[in-house]
């Protein structure tokens, strides 16, 4: 208990008080202030009388770069004249670091007059350069390890040869990025860990070969069993592609193996009214074979409605046919994924034939031309199919993972424009003439997802009045989930009502799906469904008649504060995570198996992201994959043999013991000799006699 016993030791005056903890808390970080300051050198030296004129002149020059907060030109007494004169340099403080950067870019070297060419630099750079060592030290050459091309591939794909067929994942928590092996029911085994490995986030390459980390000006790729840096790409300017900067920040395409810059593109152009265009990412979309990449380009300044689809081909990096495809009103497009069969054919054929690759795009209503979805082949530029649509508010293109089906979700408004509803236009791409089926959905579709490699998809709809309203933020919407089966002749459907689910996560192999309720304050449900649940004991006959009959909820679970759901690449496991980037309550992750059985739970403070390492497409055909692996079959045979051997031994022991005891139990099972006798006994219930008198 604090008391006044040691009153004499109390501080006597304010100077003696220790404010260090408060000072710590409210300390203004030293560096931050100075990114907005530039140093302008080689200015004319002036005395007091001309100072204002010079400052006004400087201000006029630099005001184009941004808003000047302050200009400071230190004046020192000149030993000769004994008046205050400027020293030939001054400091300008801008509102933001970006403006300071602009000023440097634009005015470094600016000729004020014949003798004064301004030198403009960052204030912080001066400090940096003044500390460079006087003597030149040759940089250490990075040892070149020649692994040979085959062993490079082996070395980079070493994780796939894990004898236990485990998958890896990367975990970003606080400042530490670590790689782990997934060990099912046991805690994961750490492979590698590094502090400050990335500044923003991490990402796997699509085939899982590299881990990319992002830094101020560098993107680095890491891989191999010892997680060495494989290659790095240096960009001038910052790393994220957002923000309306013109010039200086560029979109660059690199070759991963050699690290060469293949082509750069200016990042934004100004649209017709002079404001910079918002950049949507991904800016370029790659075709499935990587032979082409394309983007939507807006027209030249001042020309309305001159959208075009620019398709470039590799390795030349030039436009296909040397020009972009003009498509008026073009909003968005998507490449069709290639099917597994096509990929196999290419692999086995050996040569890369000039293949047509399909993409789809949509255009809104323009003038008296209706809204339209178009399927286009590249490089022939042949239009395979068009479909007109009316009363369209918006369209979203969803390709099935094999490119077999295309669904265009069309949000329509009624003639009065009062309410919106959705239609799903399903294109059966593999069939002759690409027939289109329309599925009407009464309510708004808030989520859509194809089953990977399947003929089914799931949608989430809501008729909740709170949807789209400002009040929606705090409310958990009531939703319905529907599963559609694209059977002939008519698509089948199964709907689950009274849900709160707002996100669909299919297993990468299809069949299993998780319906999750994300970003709700009250509900954190995870429902694990199986679409092909056939018990051998019943329903097998039903399954053939009605595919929807096999929909089965395997499990319902909950993960408090769930923000993301991630299937592992084999579809055996799922991780649900609660990321520090979205909120800070109970961050961490839970590992489940595909049936929804919880295997592990980890609460980790400052947990940010967890990503499974992708696997390259399997070298097995789908038929080969369906069969159980050699391992599985051997394991099962072994179990059965062990059991049978044990039974034989035990039964022998038992019969010996019984014989010795002289007690032999009669066999219970006499299969065919059981007689079922049913007797129908007639009982007289009532007997009445009626005498009818005539």
């Amino acid at each position: 208990m604090p008391g006044f016993d040691n009153a004499r030791q109390f501080p006597q005056s304010i100077e003696e008080l220790d404010f260090s903890d408060i000072e710590e808390k409210y300390k203004v970080p030293f560096e931050e202030g100075f990114d907005t300051i530039i140093v302008v050198d080689n200015a004319p030296t002036v005395d007091e009388s001309k100072k204002d004129k010079l400052l006004k002149f400087i201000r006029k020059i630099f005001k184009n770069a941004g808003n000047i907060k302050d200009i400071d030109m230190p004046m020192d007494p000149d030993p000769k004249t004994e008046t205050l004169t400027s020293k030939g340099f001054l400091f300008i403080e801008f509102e933001t670091p970006e403006q300071a950067a602009m000023a440097i870019k634009q005015y470094d070297g600016y000729p004020m007059d014949k003798t004064h060419h301004l030198a403009v630099n960052r204030f912080t750079d001066i400090e940096k350069y003044s500390q460079i060592e006087e003597e030149y030290k040759e940089p250490e050459e990075e040892k070149f390890v020649d692994l040979g091309s085959d062993s490079i591939a082996e070395h980079l794909r070493s994780w796939l040869t894990d004898p236990q067929a485990r998958d890896q994942f990367v975990l970003y928590r606080g400042d530490v990025v670590s790689i782990f092996w997934n060990k099912k029911t046991e805690p994961p085994e750490e492979v590698h860990k590094r502090m400050n490995w990335t500044e923003t986030y991490v990402k796997w390459s699509p085939l899982g070969t590299y881990l990319a980390t992002f830094h101020r000006q560098v993107i680095a790729l890491w891989g191999g069993p010892s997680w060495n840096k494989i290659i790095r790409f240096v960009q001038s300017g910052a790393d994220t592609p957002f923000g309306p900067e013109d010039e200086g920040r560029q979109i660059i395409i690199w070759d991963v193996h050699g690290g060469n810059l293949l082509r750069s593109f200016p990042s934004s152009t100004l649209s017709s009214d002079g404001t910079p265009n918002k950049i949507t990412w991904p800016m370029f979309k790659w075709s499935p074979s990587d032979k082409y990449f394309a983007r939507v380009t807006q027209g030249q300044q001042g020309q309305q409605g001159q959208q075009a689809l620019s398709v470039y081909e590799t390795p030349s990096m030039g436009l296909v046919g040397n020009k972009s495809i003009k498509i008026e009103g073009l909003v968005d497009f998507e490449w069709a994924p290639s099917s597994d069969k096509e990929k196999e054919r290419d692999k086995h054929s050996g040569e890369k034939k000039q293949k047509e690759e399909l993409l789809s795009y949509w255009t809104p209503e323009i003038g008296n031309q209706p809204a339209r979805v178009t399927l286009l082949n590249i490089p022939s530029k042949e239009i395979l199919r068009t479909r007109n649509l009316v009363n369209v508010t918006d369209c979203k293109i969803h390709w099935q993972s094999n490119g077999d089906f295309l669904c265009v979700k069309v949000d329509r408004h009624t003639k009065t424009k009062k309410s919106t509803f959705s239609n799903l236009e399903i294109f059966r791409v593999r069939e002759k003439d690409i027939p289109v089926e329309v599925i009407e959905v009464k309510d708004v579709v808030i989520a859509f997802s194809w089953e990977p490699k399947g003929k089914r998809f799931a949608i989430i709809t809501t008729s909740d009045p709170n949807y789209g309203q400002p009040t929606q933020g705090g409310v958990t919407l009531k939703t319905s989930v529907s599963f559609y089966y694209l059977e002939k002749p008519k698509p089948g459907k199964e709907t689950l009502e009274k849900k709160t689910s707002n996100a669909i996560y299919w297993s990468p192999l299809g069949r299993h799906v998780i319906l999750a309720t994300l970003r709700s304050a009250t509900t954190f449900d995870l429902e694990f469904w199986d679409l092909d649940f056939e018990t051998t004991l019943d329903q097998k006959e039903f399954a053939k008649a009605d595919p929807a009959a096999c929909l089965q909820l395997m499990n319902t679970q909950e993960h408090y504060g769930v923000t993301d759901v991630e299937w592992d690449p084999t579809g055996r496991y799922v991780i649900t995570s609660s990321s520090f980037w979205r909120h800070s309550i109970e961050n961490g992750y839970i590992l489940w198996d595909f049936k929804g059985t919880q295997l592990q739970k980890h609460l980790l403070k400052k947990f940010k992201q967890l990503l499974w390492r992708p696997r390259p497409k399997s070298l097995l055909t789908s038929e080969q994959k369906k069969a159980l692996s050699e391992e599985e079959i051997k394991h099962r045979r072994r179990l059965t043999e062990e059991w049978n051997a044990w039974r034989k031994r035990v039964e022998k022991e038992l019969s010996e013991e019984r014989e010795n005891a002289g007690i032999v139990l009669p066999s219970r099972r006499d299969d065919d000799t059981i007689e079922v006798i049913e007797e129908w006994i007639e009982e007289v219930v009532e007997k009445t006699e009626e005498i009818i008198d005539d």
Binding site: T536, L537, E558, T597, R637, V650, L665, R668
Partner: protein, 329 residues
């Protein structure tokens, strides 16, 4: 398969048992009623009245002449199967949670509850199979299991020993003649809710609230198999033909408030007995947790009793018998 729904109880089922031939199914419940049914069509034969407390357990002798029940009214009663007459009542200090006839019908065990200063026990009773003869009140022996109380118990073959399953998840072997523990193993992480023997009593299956079921060898208590599920289990049974085990239980208590009531979704789960990890199928239909499962001795049907007061009798169809894993044959 089409299940037959037996409606004869007003409260949750506690145990069901087939007789040796399998033509009769006995069911007992918290509603103090003992019912007997024809298993092939679900027709009820009759009831055995007399208990004044919830009935926890039932067993029938191998000739289907004597029925034994244990109740929360602190008595175990012996009945004449055919007539329904109560032949004898044994009084105890606490409730009887499990009864079981020995292989030769000469003895029966009764597991008594631990309560109010009385330790849980396993009482070995002498049974005279002649209906006319007076039964003996005096037990052959009383076993006082050390440590955790017994929840369920069964006889070994040739009356070699008694197998017990305990509240702390352990499984033990006792010599019923001396009352000594022969052997004990730590099997489960939570209480054992059911223990059922294989046909020849050389191995048995235990069900536990720790969401798993396990198979042990009777003589050695060696662990043979483990089946993991996601709900606490109340009962487990071994099918005499086809290599399956049937597990039944309840929903995890935590989930009850957060999930919507799923009508008829409580399930009996079939796992492959040898392959452990492989779930073969599920049979749903109960409106509440499944408390007890029994398999017909010929293996062609099984029954389940639920918290909902219903007994469901399922006769397997063709598919069940033809089911085989091709790689194993």
């Amino acid at each position: 398969m089409r299940p037959i729904l037996l409606q004869g109880h007003t409260r949750s089922l506690t145990q069901i048992k087939y007789n040796r031939e399998g033509d009769l199914l006995f069911s007992v419940s918290k509603d103090q009623v003992v019912n007997v049914w024809y298993s092939h069509n679900g027709e009820r034969l009759g009831t055995y009245n007399g208990h004044v407390g919830a009935i926890w357990t039932v067993d029938v002798n191998s000739t289907s002449t004597l029925l034994l029940t244990g109740s929360a009214d602190n008595t175990a009663k012996l009945w004449e199967v055919q007539t329904g007459k109560c032949l004898h009542t044994w009084e105890f200090k606490t409730a009887i949670k499990r009864v079981a006839f020995s292989e030769d019908d000469a003895m029966a065990l009764a597991v008594t509850e631990q309560r109010m200063g009385y330790p849980g026990t396993v009482v070995i009773l002498s049974i005279k199979n002649d209906i006319e003869t007076e039964q003996s009140d005096e037990p052959i022996n009383i076993i006082y299991p050390k440590g955790s109380k017994a929840m369920a118990a069964e006889w070994g073959y040739l009356n070699k020993y008694i197998i017990t399953g305990h509240e702390d998840g352990s499984v033990a072997q006792y010599d019923w003649k001396t009352g000594d523990q022969i052997k004990s193993v730590k099997a489960h992480n939570a209480e054992i809710t059911d223990l059922q023997m294989s046909e020849d009593r050389t191995y048995f299956i235990t069900a536990s609230k720790d969401k798993s079921a396990q198979i042990f060898e009777s003589n050695t208590l060696n662990h043979l198999k483990k089946y993991m599920t996601d709900a606490p289990l109340n009962s487990a049974a071994i099918t005499p033909i086809q290599d399956f085990v049937i597990l039944g239980g309840g929903q995890d208590a935590m989930q009850v408030t957060t999930t919507t009531m799923r009508q008829g979704k409580f399930e009996c789960r079939f796992y492959h007995k040898i392959l452990e990890d492989v779930e073969v199928g599920r049979v749903k239909g109960h409106f509440g947790p499944i408390n007890t499962i029994a398999v017909h001795p010929d293996g062609k049907s099984f029954s389940s009793g639920g918290e909902d007061g219903y007994v469901r009798v399922h006769h397997f169809d063709e598919d069940y018998f033809r089911f085989k894993y091709p790689e194993l044959h």
